[in-house]
């Protein structure tokens, strides 16, 4: 067995044992980290492989989350009932947009299709016009800002800044009960595994190579007979769908979905995990997302006021000293291990 296999098995075992070892509160937090890890897989694909630094992944996370939340809210309100926030927002009749979300099949389809479709359309518009690099990053950031403002402005429809909260049931599971929480955790862990596999297959396929080629030489790829806009749009869509699925699970896991989770800062925080873990390696991105979010919980519990120093500082340190993230460090350690004894030339600095 290779190192990669061994650590993969170890991770699976650890995740499987977690429900036995952790309190429901801690297990809930872990499930939350796993949601972010699912987003991280998508980001590693789009950014690490495809060079698309998406600062607006919160948007897709949100679309999935709201689709799920709408269903759960309607489920809770019962037939003819109105979600609680509509009552206090003065809405008297269920808005037309909400009606189909009473149907679980529609809602589940929307979790996948809405983020996917939005990403697809946006990607097509933007990538066909050859917007890339920093421009794409900033545009996606503006998208996140605009999306949040839109959500907040439609209080009657979306719950405004509050978003939606107070969910107690999830497809028959009782979310207030530790067993229900364990079940939701298990679903999240399984979904993460599935997304990891999907991404892995994609990366290894010809399409994955093509994606790297697009990242490194988009214009050159055109002269190999491919449309880079299609390659990028497909990848962007896949990563958006992953974010949407994660958002949908976030709702039962954490019990709230609100614009505060989707704006620029949360979107950036999603990236932090990926950057710290190593954006070029899927497993690194997952590990990074879990580690960074765990660190956030830990630090903000123990040094509430110093959290920003730690978060910011950690981030700077990783970027400066391990630009390829933890995965890069692991990789070079392994390299050093295997080349011990042999004389390696000293690296040379290119000064300018």
């Amino acid at each position: 067995m290779t190192w990669g296999r061994i650590s993969l098995v170890a991770c699976v075992v650890l995740l499987a044992l977690a429900p036995l070892a952790l309190s429901p509160f801690r297990l809930g937090l872990l499930a939350k980290y796993l949601c972010f890890a699912i987003v991280a897989v998508g980001i590693a694909l789009a950014w690490g492989r495809g060079g698309m630094l998406t600062l607006g992944q919160g948007v897709f996370f949100g679309l999935g989350g709201y689709a799920m939340a709408m269903y759960l809210k309607l489920e809770e309100a019962g037939p003819g009932g109105l979600p609680d926030f509509m009552v206090w927002s003065g809405v008297e009749e269920l808005p037309a947009l909400w009606k189909p979300f009473g149907n679980p099949v529609f809602a589940l389809a929307a979790v996948v299709l809405v983020p996917g479709l939005v990403a697809f359309l946006l990607g097509l518009l933007v990538f066909r016009q050859r917007v890339r690099g920093a421009y794409f990053a900033i545009l996606s950031q503006a998208l996140a800002a605009a999306f949040v403002i839109l959500l907040i402005g439609q209080q009657g429809l979306t719950g405004g800044t509050n978003g939606m909260t107070n969910f107690s049931r999830f497809f028959g599971l009782d979310l207030t009960d530790p067993n229900g929480q364990r079940a939701v955790y298990a679903i999240t862990a399984l979904l993460l595994g599935a997304m990891f596999l999907v991404a892995k297959l994609l990366v290894r396929s010809r399409f994955g190579r093509l994606l790297v080629a697009v990242r490194d030489g988009e214009d050159r790829v055109r002269f190999l007979g491919y449309d880079p806009a299609v390659v990028k749009t497909v990848t962007f869509t896949v990563s958006a769908v992953m974010a949407g699925l994660a958002g949908a699970l976030f709702v039962p896991v954490v019990g709230i979905i609100s614009p505060a989770l989707l704006g620029i800062v949360p979107s950036l925080e999603l990236l932090v995990g990926v950057a710290v873990g190593g954006r070029f390696v899927l497993a690194g991105a997952i590990a990074g997302a879990i580690a960074v979010n765990y660190a956030k919980t830990l630090f903000s519990e123990d040094f509430a006021e110093g959290w920003l120093y730690l978060q910011g500082g950690l981030f700077v340190l990783v970027l400066v000293f391990a630009p390829k993230g933890l995965a890069g460090v692991v990789d070079s350690l392994r390299h050093r291990w295997s080349s011990r004894g042999r004389t390696a030339p000293t690296p040379v600095e290119v000064a300018a």
């Binding site: 297959l201 396929s205 010809r206 490194d216 050159r220 002269f223 190999l224 449309d227």
Partner: protein, 249 residues
């Protein structure tokens, strides 16, 4: 023989400056055509227009009877037009084989692209051999030297199997022996494909060219055999230089 590439009344303007101005050019099927001309004559621009990188202000480019102007780059490639670049551009992080494989796979439907590559196709294998890169097949292209990169690029063009190959200074910066190898390869390819080569190396030209077109200030100055072109006083004046036209042998 029928015309494969027909350029008519082409005009390309950048910021008021006409880089190509009233250019007409016909390349027959199966031809090996050399394109020469002073720096800035519009040779690269012409290739850019044919391959969709640059949009002309006026004129038409027909390939096998179909208009190319207005089509996107990858569509033109899919119609069978391939090119290399003045400075070789390969994907440094991908291995040599992967570079070639990508050039080979563009005809696959998206569905099969999503599968993993298994083994190496015949076209890729033979391109590896032609470019003498078999030993380096699994090395990332980033480690290749200048010359090897140019070879890889030519290899990628070959596996693309285009009907028309446009080569922009393929031997620039190559050592003498590599020039020879490239020349021989060109000859072999030209027996089955239509090839247009841009070159400044007169030695190379004399050795391998049959028909030569001389561009100057965006239009055709002269067309003919190597000797005809070389003796033309106008070509000497703007391109070859007074003294050296035939001094170098």
């Amino acid at each position: 023989m029928t015309a494969l590439l027909e350029v008519r009344g082409l005009r390309v303007v950048f910021d008021g400056f006409a880089a190509i101005d009233g250019l007409d050019l016909t390349v027959e099927e199966g031809e090996l055509r050399f394109l020469i001309g002073p720096n800035g004559a519009g040779k690269t621009t012409l290739i850019d227009v044919v391959t969709g990188l640059t949009r002309p202000a006026a004129g038409s480019v027909r390939f096998g009877g179909q208009e190319l102007v207005g089509r996107r780059e990858h569509r033109i490639v899919r119609m069978g037009v391939g090119r290399t670049f003045q400075t070789a551009t390969v994907f440094e992080e991908l291995t040599v084989v992967e570079n070639l494989d990508l050039a080979d796979s563009f005809r696959l439907p998206l569905r099969s692209l999503l599968r993993r590559r298994r083994g190496v196709s015949d076209a890729v294998a033979s391109a590896l051999e032609t470019a003498e890169l078999t030993a380096l097949a699994d090395k990332p292209a980033g480690v290749l030297s200048h010359g090897q990169r140019q070879w890889l690029e030519i290899g990628m063009l070959l596996v693309q199997r285009p009907k028309l190959l446009l080569l922009d200074e393929p031997v620039a910066g190559m050592s003498r022996s590599e020039r020879e190898r490239t020349g021989e390869l060109l000859h072999r390819i030209a027996s089955t494909h239509t090839v247009v080569v841009v070159e400044h190396d007169m030695e190379f030209l004399r050795k391998y060219a049959r028909k030569v077109t001389v561009l100057h200030q965006g239009h055709v100055l002269r067309e003919g055999s190597v000797t005809e072109v070389q003796e033309d006083p106008r070509v000497r004046e703007v391109y070859l230089g007074r003294a050296k036209g035939k001094a170098v042998t």
